[in-house]
C-alpha cells in the first residue's frame, strides 16, 4: 500500500493506493496519525479511488480517525469508493456518520 497526502487549507486529503486489509491498516494508521498531530490539520478526506480491495479492517481505521478528528471539532469524509467497498461501510453504519462523496471537490465543500 501507498499513502499520499495533499492539503487544502485545514483539510488533509489522504489518497490510499492499493489493498486495505489488517496488514496494511497498521501502516495507514501510523502514517495518518503522524499527520493528525500537526496543528494545521482539522478535517480529513479519505480518497478511495485507488483502493483495489478492502475488508472490515478499513472500517476500524476510519472509525478510529473519526474519534480523533471529532475531538478537534473537525470533519471526515470518504470519496470515490467502489460499490463493493461502499457496501462494507454501509453495513457497519459508518455512512450514517461519515458522508461518502462523489468527488474531492464536493467533499471539500462540506468541510
Amino acid at each position: 500500500m501507498q499513502v499520499k497526502f495533499t492539503r487544502k487549507g485545514a483539510t488533509l486529503i489522504v489518497k490510499i493506493i492499493g489493498e486495505l486489509d489488517h496488514h496494511s491498516a497498521d501502516y495507514l494508521r501510523q502514517k495518518v496519525d503522524g499527520e493528525l498531530i500537526k496543528p494545521s490539520t482539522r478535517n480529513v478526506i479519505f480518497d478511495f479511488s485507488s483502493v483495489s480491495f478492502m475488508d472490515s479492517s478499513g472500517i476500524g481505521v476510519i472509525m478510529g480517525r473519526l474519534k480523533t478528528i471529532q475531538k478537534l471539532n473537525g470533519k471526515i469524509a470518504i470519496v470515490n469508493t467502489r460499490p463493493q467497498i461502499k457496501r462494507i461501510f454501509e453495513m457497519s453504519g459508518l455512512l450514517k456518520i461519515v458522508p461518502a462523496c462523489e468527488s474531492i471537490e464536493s467533499a471539500i465543500g462540506m468541510m
Binding site: 489488517h22 496488514h23 478492502m54 475488508d55 463493493q84 453495513m91
Partner: protein, 149 residues
C-alpha cells in the same frame, strides 16, 4: 456430490499471508469463471476468516492456518481453520458490531461481511482447541448460464 477439484494449503499465521490466502483462493476459484464481483465476494470473505485466525485465533503470535477449497460445477466451499484460542460463544461472536478487541480498532463486522458476501457461513469452535469457518457460495452467473444451455 464429489468436488470437481480440490486444494489445501497450510501457511504461517502472519498478517502478510492475509493477501496471499485471498489471492490463492481467487486464483483457484477462477477456474469456474465466475464474475469479477463474485470473485471479489470470495476474496473479501477469505480475507475476513484468515484475518480472524491471525488476530483472534493466534492473537498475532505463532501458529498455522489451513485453507481448503472445494470446487463444484457452479459453487465453492472454502474452509479456514486454526488451532488457536477458540470462541466461547459463537452466537455472540457472530452478532454485527460485536468484537472482543475494540482497543485494536476492530469493528466487529467480519462475520457480517462473510454472511453478506457468501450464501452460508458455518462456524465450529472450541475454546482452547481452535476454530473452523466454512464458507459456501453458488455462482449465480454460472448456474444461470448452465440453465440456458
Amino acid at each position: 456430490m464429489q468436488p470437481i477439484n480440490e486444494m489445501k494449503i497450510t501457511f504461517s499465521s502472519k498478517s502478510s499471508n492475509e493477501a496471499f490466502a485471498r489471492v490463492v483462493s481467487a486464483a483457484f476459484v477462477s477456474q469456474l469463471d465466475p464474475t469479477l464481483e463474485e470473485l471479489a465476494d470470495v476474496k473479501t470473505s477469505v480475507s475476513e476468516a484468515v484475518t480472524n485466525a491471525v488476530i483472534h485465533g493466534y492473537e498475532n503470535g505463532p501458529g498455522y492456518i489451513t485453507m481448503t477449497c472445494k470446487l463444484f460445477p457452479d459453487s465453492v466451499e472454502i474452509t479456514v481453520e486454526d488451532q488457536g484460542k477458540g470462541i466461547e460463544d459463537v452466537e455472540l461472536a457472530r452478532q454485527p458490531l460485536y468484537t472482543s478487541k475494540p482497543e485494536m480498532e476492530r469493528s466487529g463486522m467480519g462475520f457480517t461481511v462473510m454472511e453478506t458476501f457468501m450464501d452460508k457461513v458455518e462456524v465450529f469452535s472450541e475454546p482452547g482447541k481452535g476454530t473452523t469457518v466454512k464458507l459456501y457460495k453458488t455462482f449465480k452467473s454460472i448456474r444461470d448460464k448452465d440453465k440456458e444451455e
